[in-house]
């Protein structure tokens, strides 16, 4: 990785510098000293000068190569030979380190995203052949052996196994899978062979989309990233001017010694090189985004990381975000002239076309296949329910609002849970079915941690007040809004955004959350890569369904921003102090070299810290590497 020619030049330069210094301090022959050090300068400086010349040809005059060229030539002219070579040598060492560090962080992130499967074992005409995943078509059968990566998004046909989802979700516990389960490309099959049917072409599979997102993230630059390049655009010429004035004014106006003031001016040139700032800022964002992806958090750009750090309020959608989103029927309550079986059958038939989690739970409870012939036209009433023709009569099924809109007399004041009321146009009210959903374990952890971080939490839901309140209490959110129609969610969110000073984050999972995800300052989509519209509209995608990762994302963003500003302030402060010292003659060239190369190295090492994100993971959440253990001890 280290360029041999570069290394050789630096070593030769170092030897010549050492020799020159020995002669210098033992009072040896000044000419020999000048020749040795001059040779060193030519060997180490050739590239710098060439680069400077080619940049000037390309229309760029002021850059660090010019600063270095002037400083070295100037130092040589006033007889400061060792300084001239030392400046060059350390500059080269700094550059080399810089490239090495940047390259390393590029590689470590490339390794993180090395989730692309190389081959797929597709079963064609009874034979298993190994092909590139991009050649597999939708609906083909693939064989996935233990130890293999799942090549493409697919559905298990045969075989039971467990899969390691860590590369995609950050989740440390393997998932058990069985026939009928969906798998994403990039999962690793652990225990048994599986035959699966592919669901999507390779290019649209989860892993391709994730890769694309990570690759694209760097093209959305944060405003502090833009600021620093704009700053550097004016900074370098300004520094050249200051340095020139420091030389010229005292000499012309005060009759200062040319040599003294030239030395001071050159010192200023050396110290004010903007490398430290310019490299460390984008590197911090890049490493922060890379670190987040280790936990299964995909941030679509540095700008979103910057915004997340200003989070004041986090607004959660309830179902599927704070709760598991899988309902189960807890009570069937028919009116006098109905039986439980009749009621659930009618409900299941009326919900035949619906894929709402509640409908699914009712159909699951019914447990039998529904004859499509008995189901007629079905109409979805948003936020209320469904009206479906079943066996010739119109069945009204939905919440209390649905009932009152249709003129049925019903009440929610009965059993616990979300009530689904059923009535027919001619037969009147027939009873209700209660379903309930449970909060995710990580929701409680996440809300608690957000509170500790001083962030307000809000829950929005279309469910009725009683159910919403129970979940809100269990999870511990500061505020809840229930009985919301999809468009109400957006207006509540808009109010929160308007009232807040900082950033408002919306966390949701469903297709109907897409407008809110787009409207919020930062939209976080949960539940991975499943729901296209949500992932498309979101700025951050959490792959493993855990609200605890919302906290990690915010903490990573704050940490990244802190490191960015640490570097900016540290670098500018050191440079400014040394610059002032140089003006008054208290700083020599060696201190200036530290102010340039030393500061750059420190800033880059600091920026690389953004990559380690372990400390932001909530203890006991599913992202915690010790998850199974901690879970048992609770």
């Amino acid at each position: 990785m280290i360029d041999k020619k570069e290394a050789a030049e630096i070593i030769i330069g170092a030897v010549l510098l050492a020799a020159g210094l020995v002669i210098h301090f033992t009072g040896g022959d000044a000419l020999t000293e000048a020749i040795l050090l001059g040779a060193g300068c030519i060997i180490c400086g050739y590239e710098v000068v060439m680069e400077c010349v080619s940049n000037i040809r390309g229309g760029t005059i002021f850059d660090e190569n010019l600063l270095m060229t002037i400083a070295v030539v100037g130092a040589f002219l006033i007889g400061e030979y060792p300084e001239a070579l030392a400046v060059l040598l350390f500059y080269r060492v700094g550059e080399m380190f810089e490239h090495y560090a940047v390259d390393r962080s590029r590689r470590s992130i490339a390794a993180l995203t090395d989730i692309m499967p190389d081959t797929a074992n597709v079963i064609r005409d009874g034979k298993t052949i190994s092909v590139s995943p991009s050649e597999v078509e939708v609906g083909e059968k693939v064989l996935i052996k233990p130890g293999d990566k799942v090549p493409i998004d697919c559905k298990v046909l045969e075989g039971a196994s467990s899969v390691d989802t860590k590369a995609l979700t950050g989740e440390s516990m393997p998932r058990d899978i069985d026939a009928g389960d969906e798998l994403f490309g990039g999962f690793i099959n652990l225990t048994g062979p599986i035959t699966a049917e592919t669901l999507r072409p390779y290019g649209e599979s989860a892993v391709s989309r994730i890769m694309e997102m990570i690759e694209d993230s760097a093209s959305r630059k944060a405003s502090s990233e833009r600021f620093i390049t704009v700053f550097a655009r004016y900074y370098t010429p300004a520094v050249c001017l200051i340095s020139f004035l420091v030389f010229l004014l005292p000499v012309l106006l005060l009759g200062g010694a040319v040599q003294t003031w030239l030395y001071r001016a050159l010192t200023i040139l050396v110290v004010s090189c903007p490398c430290a700032l310019v490299i460390s800022v984008p590197m911090s964002f890049f490493c922060g985004i890379g670190g987040a992806s280790k936990l299964g958090i995909l941030v679509k750009g540095g700008n979103f990381l910057e915004m997340l750090a200003k989070t004041e309020t986090v607004v959660f959608d309830k179902t599927g975000t704070l709760t598991k989103g899988t309902f189960s029927v807890s009570k069937i309550h028919p009116s006098e002239n109905m039986t439980e079986d009749q009621l659930i059958e009618m409900a299941a038939e009326a919900e035949f076309y619906s894929s709402h989690p509640i409908s699914l739970s009712i159909k699951e409870m019914y447990g039998k296949a529904i004859d499509p012939a008995v189901v007629g036209a079905s109409q979805n009433v948003p936020g209320r329910g469904v009206i479906t023709e079943v066996k010739g009569s119109a069945v009204h099924i939905g919440n209390l609002k649905m009932m009152s809109a249709m003129g049925h007399n019903a009440t929610d004041a009965c059993c616990k849970g979300t009530k689904i009321h059923i009535a027919t146009e001619n037969g009147g009210y027939l009873g209700h079915i209660a379903v309930s959903d449970v909060a995710k374990a990580d929701s409680v952890l996440a809300v608690k941690a957000l509170k500790e971080d001083g962030i307000k939490t809000v829950m929005l839901t279309g469910d009725n007040g009683e159910v919403a309140e129970a979940i809100a209490k269990e999870v511990g959110v500061d505020e809840e809004h229930s009985d919301l129609l999809p468009q109400d969610k957006l207006s509540v969110l808009e109010n929160i955004i308007k009232e807040g000073k900082g950033a408002t984050v919306f966390v949701g999972d469903g297709i109907n959350d897409a407008p809110s995800l787009a409207r919020a300052d930062v939209g976080i989509a949960m539940g991975g890569i499943g729901s296209d519209a949500a992932v498309e509209a979101a700025d951050v995608v959490i792959m493993n369904d855990s609200p605890a990762n919302v906290v990690s994302a915010i903490r990573i963003s704050k940490r990244t921003m802190r490191i960015v500003w640490e570097n900016i302030i540290f670098a500018l402060a050191v440079k400014f102090v040394i610059l002032c010292m140089a003006v008054f003659g208290y700083a020599d060239m060696y201190l200036a070299i530290f102010g340039d190369v030393g500061v750059t190295i420190i800033a880059i090492l600091n920026a690389a810290r953004c990559l380690s994100v372990g400390s932001t993971v909530l203890k006991g959440s599913i992202t915690d590497p010790d998850y199974p253990k901690t879970n048992i001890s609770i």
Partner: protein, 72 residues
């Protein structure tokens, strides 16, 4: 239309910024970002892809003569 190129050898974010600005001012280019860390140039163009990619290549090589450009 989106166009992506890999640009290796850009020395620092400053050069990247310079190239980015020059490319953005080209006719038929709606937006351009050159990310220093990923070494990726992402263009949103409405003009002729052929001539734009030629111009883009010229701009990059003029600013950073040793750059290596590959189309993705």
């Amino acid at each position: 239309m989106k166009m992506v190129m890999k640009v290796e050898g850009v020395c620092c974010p400053n050069c990247a910024d310079k190239i980015e600005r020059k490319i953005t001012s080209l006719n038929g280019v709606d937006s351009a970002t050159l990310a220093y860390m990923t070494q990726k140039l992402t263009l949103e163009i409405s003009g002729d892809p052929e001539s734009i990619s030629n111009d883009v290549e010229k701009i990059i090589l003029k600013t950073v003569p040793k750059a290596k450009i590959t189309k993705v």
